[in-house]
C-alpha cells in the first residue's frame, strides 16, 4: 500500500491511495497494530488522523517542509 499526501501552504490538503494492499490484515498485538491504509479512510488528513511520521533519521536542517512539520503546522491550527 502506498499513500500520497499533498502538502500545500503548510497543511495537508489531500491523501490519495496510489497502491492497494492485496490482502487484509490479521489480528495484531494489543499494543501495536500495523495496518494498511485503505483508500476510503485516506480521503483527508483528518480522517487518516496521522499525528506522527516515522522515517529514516531526519535532521533539523531538513525538517522544514517535511511531513511531520506539515502535520505540526496543521495541529496548531494552520499558523
Amino acid at each position: 500500500m502506498q499513500v500520497q499526501i499533498t502538502v500545500s501552504g503548510g497543511s495537508i490538503s489531500t491523501v490519495t491511495a496510489i497502491k492497494y494492499p492485496n490482502e487484509t490484515n490479521q489480528s495484531q498485538t494489543i499494543s501495536a497494530q500495523v495496518i494498511p491504509t485503505y483508500e476510503q479512510e485516506a480521503v483527508s488528513a483528518q480522517s487518516a488522523d496521522i499525528k506522527l511520521v516515522s522515517g529514516a533519521t531526519e535532521t533539523y536542517t531538513g525538517f522544514t517542509g517535511s511531513l511531520q512539520d506539515a502535520i505540526n503546522q496543521a495541529e496548531q491550527g494552520g499558523s
Partner: protein, 340 residues
C-alpha cells in the same frame, strides 16, 4: 535559543484541535513533542487549558535540558564528552556516571541479542550513539511527559496557579508523544481510549507514506537510507533493506531492532523476527514492502528467505538461541525501570 515554540491555542479556539505541539532542536535532530489534553470541563475551559499549557511548557524545558545534557556526555563528536574520553582510553565515567554504565551495559547486551548486528565497537572505537537516542527518548517520556498522564499531577515546578481541589484528581493530559527525527515514543493515560496513528514514510518519496500503524503505549523506529545516506555501517554482504520500521513496546527496543535489521541484512533479520516476535515494515531495494507481525510474515510471495516456512528441525535448533535472546531482552527491560 533554537527552540521553536508553538503558540498554544486560546480558550476560544482550542475545541477541535487541542493538541499542544512543541519542536526542539538538539543534536540537529528535530524533536516534536505532542501533548493531548483531556477534554475541557464544561464552564471551566480556560483554567484547564492554562494548566496543561504551563505544565507542558515546563516539561518541554526539562526535556530540552535533559537532551542537551545527554548530548554533552554521550556525543562522540564533542571532545569533552564521556564517550570521547572513553574512545581515548579514559573510562572514569564508568565509576561516576550511573547512566554511562547503563548505556555501556545495554550496548553489550544489544550486541549479544542481535548476534553482532548491533555493534557499538564498529572499527574499534566505542560509539553508543545508536542506542543513546532511543534511551534518551524513553527516559524523556518516562521522567517528564508520563507525569502529565497521572492523576494529581504535582511535578510542575513553574506552575503558578494551583488548580482547585475538585478537579485536581484528574490527569492533565490524555496522551503524549515524542518524535525524534522519525523515531517515536507514545504513551496514553490509563482510562483513555486514545490511539496514536503513525504514518510510515516512503523512502522513495519522503512526502508520501507507505502505510500506517496504530499504537497506544509503544515505540516506532525507522532505519534506512532516504535522508542521511549510509549512516549505518553494514556488517554483512547479504541483501540489505532500503528501510526498516519496527513497532515495539519501547522506542529503545524498536530502534535497536531496526538498526540491527538494516546493518545485519535480510537473513539475520529473518532470524531476529522469529526469535523476538517482531512487528515491522521493511522496504527492499526494489521498492517491495514486506510486513511482519508478532514474528510472522504477513505478505506472501516474497522471494529470498522465507520467514513463514519454519520446518520443525530449524525450529528445534533455534530453541536454545532463542531462549538466550529472550532473557537478554528481559534484562534490558529490567534495567530500564530504575533509570526512569
Amino acid at each position: 535559543m533554537t527552540r521553536n515554540d508553538v503558540e498554544v491555542q486560546g480558550a476560544g479556539t482550542g475545541h477541535d484541535k487541542p493538541m499542544l505541539v512543541h519542536v526542539l532542536n538538539v543534536m540537529n535532530i528535530p524533536f516534536t513533542i505532542m501533548v493531548k489534553p483531556w477534554g475541557a470541563v464544561p464552564g471551566d475551559h480556560h483554567r484547564d487549558q492554562t494548566a496543561i499549557a504551563s505544565a507542558t511548557d515546563a516539561a518541554v524545558s526539562q526535556i530540552d535540558a535533559f537532551l542537551r545534557d545527554v548530548d554533552m556526555r554521550f556525543s562522540p563528536f564533542k571532545q569533552e564528552s564521556s564517550v570521547s574520553a572513553a574512545r581515548r582510553g579514559e573510562w572514569s565515567a564508568m565509576l561516576r556516571d550511573r547512566e554511562f554504565r547503563e548505556i555501556y551495559a545495554k550496548t553489550a547486551l544489544a550486541n549479544t541479542i542481535t548476534h553482532g548486528a548491533f555493534d557499538a565497537y564498529y572499527q574499534g572505537h566505542y560509539d553508543p550513539t545508536g542506542l543513546v537516542k532511543g534511551w534518551a527518548i524513553e527516559t524523556a517520556i518516562a521522567r517528564f511527559l508520563r507525569p502529565l498522564l497521572q492523576p494529581s499531577v504535582a511535578p510542575v515546578p513553574h506552575r503558578t496557579t494551583q488548580p482547585s481541589r475538585d478537579t485536581d484528581h484528574r490527569a492533565l493530559a490524555e496522551a503524549v508523544a515524542i518524535n525524534a527525527g522519525g523515531d517515536i515514543r507514545t504513551a496514553v493515560a490509563q482510562h483513555s481510549d486514545y490511539i496514536w496513528h503513525i504514518g510510515i514514510e516512503d523512502p522513495e518519496d519522503t512526502k508520501a507514506l507507505l502505510g500506517s500503524c496504530q499504537i497506544r503505549d509503544g515505540g516506532v523506529a525507522t532505519s534506512g537510507f532516504s535522508k542521511r545516506g549510509a549512516h549505518i555501517a553494514h556488517t554483512t554482504e547479504d541483501e540489505v533493506f532500503t528501510q526498516l520500521t519496527v513497532i515495539s513496546d519501547s522506542v529503545e527496543d524498536a530502534d535497536l531492532w531496526a538498526t540491527a535489521g538494516i546493518a545485519g541484512g535480510m537473513h539475520l533479520w529473518s532470524a531476529l523476527v522469529k526469535e523476538q516476535g517482531l512487528t515491522a515494515v521493511a522496504v527492499r531495494g526494489n521498492g517491495e514492502v514486506i510486513r511482519y507481525s508478532d514474528g510472522r510474515l504477513l505478505d506472501s510471495n516474497i522471494p529470498g528467505p522465507k520467514v513463514t516456512t519454519a520446518p520443525s528441525n530449524t525450529a528445534q535448533s533455534n530453541t536454545a538461541q532463542s531462549t538466550t535472546a529472550q532473557s537478554a531482552t528481559a534484562q534490558i527491560r529490567e534495567t530500564r525501570g530504575p533509570s526512569c
